[in-house]
Amino acid sequence: MASLIKTNKISTPGGQDFTLPTTYPSATVDLTSTSGGQLGYGTANPIVQNMSTSTGKIAERFCDKIRVNNASSTVANATLSALPSDVTDVSSIVRTQVDFAGVCFVGTALPHVQLLDASNNNVINSNLYEQYRYSESYSGGSGTTNNNVETTASNNGFKLNYTQTVKGAAKSGEIFTKTTNEDNLALMCGYVIVNQYNLSDGAGITNSGILIESNINYNYNGTYTDSGRGCMVHKWARYFNTSGTTINPYTQVKIYDTNGNNINEGIFVSYSHINVNK
């Protein structure tokens, strides 16, 4: 028995040629083959963007991530893609969730969420109706659910806080690694979930609209020695029109401060559920 056969190609009785690789992989990987029969090696640590069936791809898919480090620079906003990198059909987004933590601002903030379409147009605007509910809890504050009568949406978008502002101030150094307390650090954690539907998405839809739910936890009192610092706000909102017109599909979720303060720290990740049949 030959212990070593040297050849460039191995052919099957059917005439399919497989060409051998000429090097080793750097780690244990899958053996792969191109459609032309070129044998090669897979990736040691494959990157997976989605859990999916072979057709629908409805499951949660990773979209984007932003890390803001005060030691490096501050940013005017955190704008995350709501599309996985291999998806171009913007109308296939069923739901997007943005998780965030440790978010701080360089001044006292009123954080808002804007939804942007593929051309960076603001999707939530004053042409839409708005209905929303909220619960807010802080030292001395109410925890009941309140139904707000506001009926007109704002070009500012969806407001994350309610009565209590999100404290902030310019800081030096990375906030995540600070080992002692400082005043005016919001350290806002939470999430935003967005759903959008249009008349064209199916029978039975009578108005185009957007649903948003958020929950944030942050410091509303800037003095770190004050025991009444924490505030939690849970909000739900529905935006819609009654004109029958289409609302442009959002492709980005933007978190920013309408007071104009930059974000100086925090982490943000976005995931979307994609349904190609939508």
């Binding site: 244990t28 925890g143 002692t180 610092r229 924490g230 990740v269």
Partner: protein, 287 residues
Amino acid sequence: MTVRTEKIQSLTGSAPLTLPKTLPSSKTNLKVDSSGNLTTSSVSPTFSSLGKAGETGWVLLGSTQTNDFSNGCEVSIEGSGYSGSDIYMYRIEFDIEGNRSQNSGNNFMIAPYAGTTNISNAYFSYNGFYNRNNSTGNGAYNTGAQTGTYNGYEMYFASNFSGNSNGSYDYESMFDPAGGNENYSYKGGMRGNIRYYNGAGMRAFQIDPVGLYCDEWNSSYYNNSQGYYFKQIFRKGQTKYNNATNSSFADKFRIHNASYSGGNNGAGNSSFFQRGMMTLYGIPKTG
């Protein structure tokens, strides 16, 4: 025609591939190691996270199931390839029950650890909401502040959990929907998930609005056909105030009963134990 050989090498290369000597028991990928050995071992790819090039989302860091009432429950990032300073935010999912069927001291707390060291801070400001079916009704956690000295935990979930004093019962019995007309009708526990901002000195817990669910033991509602005494769904958040007492990054979380009377310095009360499932996810700070 069959050609027998141990190795195959491209004429233009110097990297012979060594063929496997056994067949796999079922269909499997062919693996190649850095020495060119082909193997058919069924080592399926494992994916702990979704992401794209240079960006990693939630990573599965650890999962544990504790089946006996000998200690608390804990889950760590050990073996994940990450260290505590790598993780900006955690998410902890859990289904836990206690070992006391009727005792007001059946309290659950959670503590962050750095290795074997409990690094719980002492001062937190509470807020949040609760909904429950007893006379205290619904309301807000709007007055709370965990004050005073270090108590061996950072978040106090709630008190008076129903539990399971029958050690022969599986922990899954906590989900027994039958409830009433048996001696342990007050089985139950707590389930939910929370998030944790893992700053070195300043940290924050946040319970998802879907809430923690738990059953409450109550002297009027045990051992009878009323079954579970549904306690509450609660959502609680907390932020740090006052001076940080620890400056390490958490790499493990432990749910235990640090004792309603003082904490036993985080070691847990010797009469109150938990068991159940904990799963830990995290968002890496970089990458």
